[in-house]
Amino acid sequence: MPDASLARDSFGEFVAGALPGLLRFGHVLTGDPREAEDLVQEALARSLRHWRSVRSADAGPYVRRAMVNSHITRWRRWEARVRLGEVPDWGADDPAMRRGEDWDRLRRALVRLPVRQRTVLVLRYYEDLPDARIAELMNCRPGTVRSQAARGLASLRSLLEPEPETVPGGGDL
């Protein structure tokens, strides 16, 4: 079966080369390392099942598209699930995993955005995709992308604004 072994080899090469980028993309998209791994695994598995029809040049966008669709779908499906409290401090005790304060604030703020707004922002500012392409990926109109992006940015700004400092003993002037 030379075709099957060729397909296996090309898929293996693709996974080896693309995995770090896909995991990063998944992490920005979900804000959670474990969900990112689940998402990448699921999208790669689905791509493997259709690998023969995926041209190697299109494999990256194909898997990313599968990740975006799967992410939006699973959030719809998981509405029933209840998430507790604050976003956990992943690896906060691990010096190798310690990140910058700005990065951590962004991560926490992104997780609080509705899934479609977050997806639009990630595709626009992380993947640098034009609005028309984002609309195509998300099955919506470019106008919807622009409005979601504007809302997402506004929410991010309000979430990232530093809290006003309280003046001890201060009251209304």
């Binding site: 998944g26 992490h27 910058g100 991010l156």
Partner: protein
């Protein structure tokens, strides 16, 4: 942080990098196999449903027509066929889309051979109750009973067989919020509301870790303590899950 450039820069921060998997290919192939299995299971269940839907009315019609042509007049009304729930429910395998293994790992067998529990939650990823637990437990309690599929998402795998049994016998009828009141909501510890011996039974069957992570809600119809129900919850990686009822 206000500028779009800053957002772009922060999204490209190396902090988003995750370690690549050493066994990436094998892992993806296993996941693909699971996806194929799930798809096959769904097809099989659909086939059974379609076949049943096609065969039962035909059989019924046969009975009716035989009654009309051969039976005495008083036997013309066909007997009702009791609706039977499916005997075996196929659960989504571990790691299926929508049920990540980190939140829905496989259930474990109780340590005691003849223990009180049929299955135990996997202790990995369990978290001790925190300040958000009481509200989350009540929230899950209120959402349970809206449908088996939704209940699976709200529950640990160790509760899934129990959920099927509950749904086959008519669902969570006691859970109607208007007819119930919460008598106790707190950690698993002996007190007037939590049944005596429950803590020891869970420690013996599932281990001290599961017992420590357990949150108990005792509730029932007002003024009828004999009908109290005890619902056990746990938190795994930030997600509140139902896992048993007594």
């Amino acid at each position: 942080m206000t500028s779009e450039d800053q957002l772009r820069r922060l999204m490209r921060d190396p902090g988003w990098s995750l370690p690549a998997w050493p066994d990436a290919q094998a892992r993806v192939r296993r996941a693909a196999r699971r996806q194929r299995l799930t798809a096959a299971s769904v097809c099989a269940v659909l086939a059974v449903i379609i076949t049943t839907a096609a065969v039962v009315p035909v059989a019924l019609m046969g009975r009716v027509s035989r009654g009309v042509t051969q039976g005495p007049v008083r036997n013309r009304v066909p007997k009702t066929v009791p609706s039977r729930p499916a005997r075996q429910t196929i659960f989504p395998p571990v790691g299926t889309a929508g049920f990540p293994a980190s939140i829905y790992p496989a259930a474990t067998k109780p340590r005691a051979a003849a223990g009180a529990l049929r299955l135990c939650p996997d202790p990995v990823g369990l978290e001790a109750p925190g300040p958000a637990t009481p509200a989350a437990a009540i929230f899950v309690l209120r959402r349970l009973g809206q449908g088996l599929s939704s209940d699976l998402h709200l529950s640990d795998r160790s509760a899934w067989p129990l959920l099927v049994t509950i749904w086959q016998s008519g669902g969570f009828r006691l859970l109607a919020p208007t007819r119930t009141s919460v008598r106790y909501s707190g950690p698993l510890q002996p007190n007037g509301s939590v049944p005596a011996g429950l803590q020891q039974a869970i420690v013996a069957d599932c281990g001290a870790g599961v017992a420590r992570a357990t949150w108990v809600i005792v509730y029932g119809p007002p003024n009828k303590p004999a009908l109290d129900a005890v619902i056990l919850f746990l938190t795994r990686r930030g997600h509140m899950l139902f896992y048993n009822t007594v």
